[in-house]
Subunit: 241 residues, 2 copies
């Protein structure tokens, strides 16, 4: 618990003036370099030691600013979510949710490690992340919905985003881990698994999709198609009330 001189949460500590102007280290610098490393080499490259060397500093130095690796990840999450540009308050609920969905997916694809976060960092209540929830929640309550329904709708879209993009990221991750660059190459290099399973003849529909599907290589199409399904379902409930 080296980081907190009192019990205040990370974000409150962050907003009061820097304790001392001397520092070669700061939460900002820690966050940006950690994000740079994670973007370039994946989440596994994020090591307290690696971070320290990257900062030109002793292994334990960063512990003055984050209480441990979990808080480091929270810091990174909040840092990248600042990139996400929120739609204006004048936009309709559907445009708002769609924009947030598309941009969240882009954000996650720019920072693949967002798909591998441990539970604590996954639902960490960071300011910039909460701002996104606030934005979609406001869009729904503007339709005159009660808070519970509004939240359920926003959460539904959010769950779809993270589920869909999460598996898209997992796919890329596995690809990158093997050095496969082409997505078609995955289906042929994953072949030992795939051809065996399909060869059992127990998965006819799945097999048919593999052989006849045309959009296998386009996660973007799957994402936007599915997103419209979800938004349609929500729209039906709104117009019905």
């Amino acid at each position: 618990m080296a980081a907190q001189k009192d019990g205040a949460p990370l974000w409150e500590r962050l907003e009061r003036p820097a304790p001392t102007p001397r520092q070669t280290l700061s939460p900002q610098r820690i966050a940006t370099t950690a994000v740079a490393v994670a973007d370039a080499e994946g989440l596994d490259a994020i090591t307290m030691r690696r971070l320290a060397t990257e900062l030109g500093v002793a292994p334990m130095a960063a512990y003055r600013y984050v209480s441990g690796k979990d808080e480091l990840l929270e810091l990174m999450v909040d840092h990248v979510y600042a990139e996400l540009e929120l739609p204006p308050a004048t936009a309709g609920w559907r445009e708002t949710l769609r924009a947030i969905a598309v941009r969240t997916r882009e954000l996650m694809l720019h920072h693949l490690w967002l798909g591998q976060l441990p539970p604590s960092a996954m639902l960490a209540l960071t300011p910039n992340r909460t701002a996104v929830s606030e934005c979609s929640l406001r869009a729904m309550t503007g339709e005159g919905l009660d808070p519970d329904t509004a939240m359920a709708m926003a959460t539904t879209v959010s769950s779809f985003i993270h589920g869909m993009t999460g598996s898209e990221i997992a796919m890329r991750q596995v690809m990158a881990g093997q050095g496969w660059s082409d997505e078609q190459q995955v289906y042929t290099s994953l072949a030992p698994q795939l051809t065996y399973l399909l060869g059992t003849g127990r998965y006819p529909s799945f097999s048919r999709y593999i052989h006849e599907g045309r959009c296998k290589n386009d996660p973007g199409w799957q994402f936007e198609t599915g997103l419209e399904y979800v938004l349609d379902g929500i729209a039906a409930r709104i117009s019905a009330s």
Copy 2:
């Protein structure tokens, strides 16, 4: 690569007869004990060493059956997905998808570690897991949809399931990590973060939900409500075609 005497995938190796009847160890026994440990103490408790002591065996013994920790996780995943009872082929697409959704959620809540899997295990193509995909895919193709659309619809529901249940699990995980048992206690013990953020006044809609929402403590309601939204959206597309 101690596990494969040839390059065959895990599941193919599994189905040919046991190499030798002597063994005190077997993939089955490894899977069941590993799942038992993970269920009781979380995924972090799954250690090759811990697994070995639990099996009453030397630390490296299990490497004879799985090539590493990743394959161990795949084995565990496939093992628990065998529990999932699939709806009959006679059921309609909506009943099929709903049943799979509800039961997948139950499965994940019975095995919380399913929400924390690394990317490789997350999208691992295991037999029992593929059987689930096959089932929902068959339900959709039965509606006369082309393979791509059928897959997009099945994937949409699947993404919703994993996104929603994933964050529900993350919540429980954080609770369990702190020893909080009551869910109401989370909202008051998460207070340092929450009250600070809400105190800034920058999140009015979010704040209103926290204070006025009534279903905050019922993830089951959120799940089933959101699921109906998603299914409604899909139904609209099916009847429109």
